[in-house]
Assembly symmetry: C2
């Protein structure tokens, strides 16, 4: 049972911050909703900021594990790349979907030097690295460029799914991605 309350707190805080926002969620409310006493919360994390950083670390692991596992199920590297957008479609369809936790974190802590902002940026960097690797396996001539293009579409789809009126942003992104992927794989421009 070592540090079980700590993990429980991080797990529950993740859901509440995601639904309500960071500034909008006070530590008192967090204590009330999780059933964990404020005393304990501040024993594990010396500040709200530390708790948020822990939440973001957990979210980073959860999300990357989920996404890349879904992608691996598609088989060949090239299929994995477009399968990313099928996974996104599933995510968007979940009733509790409220955009990307890291985009939200960066929005609420806009200063690029703020620890929370840099931690959110780190998530995007790790996503890029894994995607770049798959792009290389798929035979892309410029894996980094392909990974960047696909990430643009992914972020755009997330924002649009949360903010727009569009019916199927993930489908739109997938359609655009297919063109970008085949341009990068089928017609190596050299």
């Amino acid at each position: 049972m070592r540090a079980s309350k700590r993990d429980e707190l991080v797990r529950e805080a993740l859901g509440i911050f995601y639904r309500e926002g960071f500034h909008a969620t006070g530590m008192d409310r967090l204590a009330a909703e999780t059933g964990i006493s404020k005393t304990t919360m501040f024993k594990h994390f010396h500040s709200k900021e530390e708790l948020i950083l822990a939440v973001l670390r957990l979210r980073d692991q959860n999300f990357r594990n989920w996404l890349f596992r879904r992608m691996e199920e598609a088989g060949a590297p090239r299929a994995q790349l477009s399968a990313m957008f099928d996974a996104l479609a599933e995510w968007f369809a979940e009733p509790g979907f409220r955009s990307c936790m890291f985009i939200k974190a960066a929005s609420e802590y806009p200063d690029p030097h703020h620890p929370i902002h840099t931690q959110a940026a780190e998530h995007k960097r790790l996503l890029f690295l894994q995607l770049q690797k798959i792009a290389a396996d798929a035979g892309a001539q410029d894996p980094a460029a392909l990974a960047r293009a696909l990430l643009l579409l992914k972020e755009g789809a997330i924002v649009t799914a949360h903010l727009g009126h569009e019916a199927d942003p993930a489908g739109d992104a997938k359609a655009a991605a297919e063109k970008v992927i085949s341009a990068a794989l089928d017609h190596p421009q050299a």
Copy 2:
């Protein structure tokens, strides 16, 4: 000088909310930084939420005017479409760039039914309508689909410019956009 203080307040609040965030900026601080008394602020806007809505309306006008004017300078409709990403590049290069005000608003007010959230969504809808029109003028067979794809790239570029480590998200988006545009215009799939 009718209602000049009101406009001045909205204009200054726009900058402060954009830099600091909505929840993070209190009405007291707003009064202190703008030099406008709290009494006056609450005479013009009965709540912080009303002020934020006014700020978003102003931002919507400013941004759309700026963007579409920049695009029109490019001449022909097709050139306008890719010129959007040149305009974005200029924006990202500004020292004060901190992502899109509407993405931030939606992040801080994640409930899709919240007035601030819906107002932010309205901005994206207006962007879509204008872009769709240009896509139609450019001869796209499915202007709505092309507009959606380009908006995905635009939102993705904004998020990445704010959150990522990438050197030139606008350039990446433009490159991807060129492929999508030519697929939609040069090879009508029918």
